[in-house]
Symmetry: none
Subunit: 206 residues, 2 copies
DNA sequence: TTTTAATATAATTTG
DNA sequence: CAAATTATATTAAT
């Protein structure tokens, strides 16, 4: 098992190894046996980038994960693609959260409905090392936007208050404002570019 | 300077080609003034949620759009629903509803050649604010898949090289890899779910 | 209907 | 915190 972060996220194509993909294929329960032969050599396509450097271990700080996940990660070419595998069949149900789902499962239904299946998937993604994407409600967005209009750098106090009022983690608020500022900046850059470009083209027409 | 949201969506539909746009974007170091202090009470800020007059700004990034278009977009809350107003004699697109508009267009299609039909479609998706779907050739897919097998996170250099060799925008390459990773992940999730589910149900039968 | 290119944006990483 | 990148939920084209 690779240590965490011992990945090959580098751009080197040659860093790839077959065992990884084979494992992944095994894990996924299907084998894509297509096109093992390619009429091109990859090297010729990519011009042989041999630089293979070791990527420092990825430090993972995932406070939203609970501690009792007996999960083992597959080896993977990238930490983000690592797939958790339950080391025992019950570990998936040891979470503290999502108790409703847990109850449903424990009702021993013979098969799983689509809804349950979706919940499973959600729960699985929960273990994949990334916080599940938060889906803000329209009202939350509206309030956040209104605050943003007046202050795009709210301090901790305002963020906390927002978190209370909107029933969100303060962390989510902070991230939201960061992303929102980035978006604003992007749009500014774009409109600035447009102005420059329009100026340029209209000058050409003179 | 344009405020966020009253940017290009409501102005003329001009944009730049990808590479130039991106380069200039990088080059233009836009400096934005930070609102350092907030003199608003949270209550007053949160109270704004009742007003509900300004729809969250939509900034769309459409670098593939041509510069010499004489189209103006309606303002709208949803970029995908924006309907263009032709500045020329073409009254075909002056309908209120997208659906009706689309029907009309489709009805017209039979009178036009395949080429013209394609350009209609292209314009339609264009109006919807979405880049026309790229149809990769079999060879392009094959090469991309082969590269993906070895490195699912190609760096900019490899992507550029691929773009050159495959005669595609680098952006298309990047999006392709993003979608490909998502697909791989989806399949992993699915089989993982099946494993867990099977394990679970067979345990129930013990 | 299914697959997947495209979009928007939440989350992560780096410095 | 910003910038760059990645993941992911949707949407829509095929």
């Amino acid at each position: 098992m690779l240590a965490e972060g011992e990945s090959m996220a580098s751009t080197s194509l040659c860093a790839a190894n077959t065992s990884v993909s084979q494992n992944l294929q095994k894990a996924s329960g299907f084998v894509e046996n297509k096109a093992t032969q390619c009429s091109f050599s990859i090297e010729s396509i990519l011009g042989l980038e041999q630089k293979k450097e070791v990527i420092p271990p990825v430090k993972t700080h995932r406070p939203w994960m609970d501690t009792c996940t007996n999960l083992v990660l597959h080896e993977g070419s990238n930490p983000h693609l690592q797939i958790p595998v339950a080391s025992c069949e019950n570990s998936l149900f040891h979470t503290n959260s999502n108790t409703i789902q847990e109850e449903k499962v424990l009702k021993c239904e013979k098969y799983f409905s689509v809804t349950e299946r979706l919940s499973f998937k959600r729960e699985l993604s929960w273990y994949r090392g990334r916080r599940p994407r938060t889906a803000f409600t329209r009202n939350q967005i509206e309030v956040l936007e209104n605050v943003f209009k007046m202050n795009s750098y709210p301090g901790i106090d305002i963020r906390e208050e927002l978190a209370r009022k909107l029933d969100l983690d303060e962390d989510r608020i902070q991230i939201w404002f960061q992303n929102r500022r980035a978006k604003l900046k992007r749009s500014h850059r774009e409109s600035q570019f447009l102005m420059v470009k329009n100026n340029f083209t209209s000058n050409l027409l003179d």
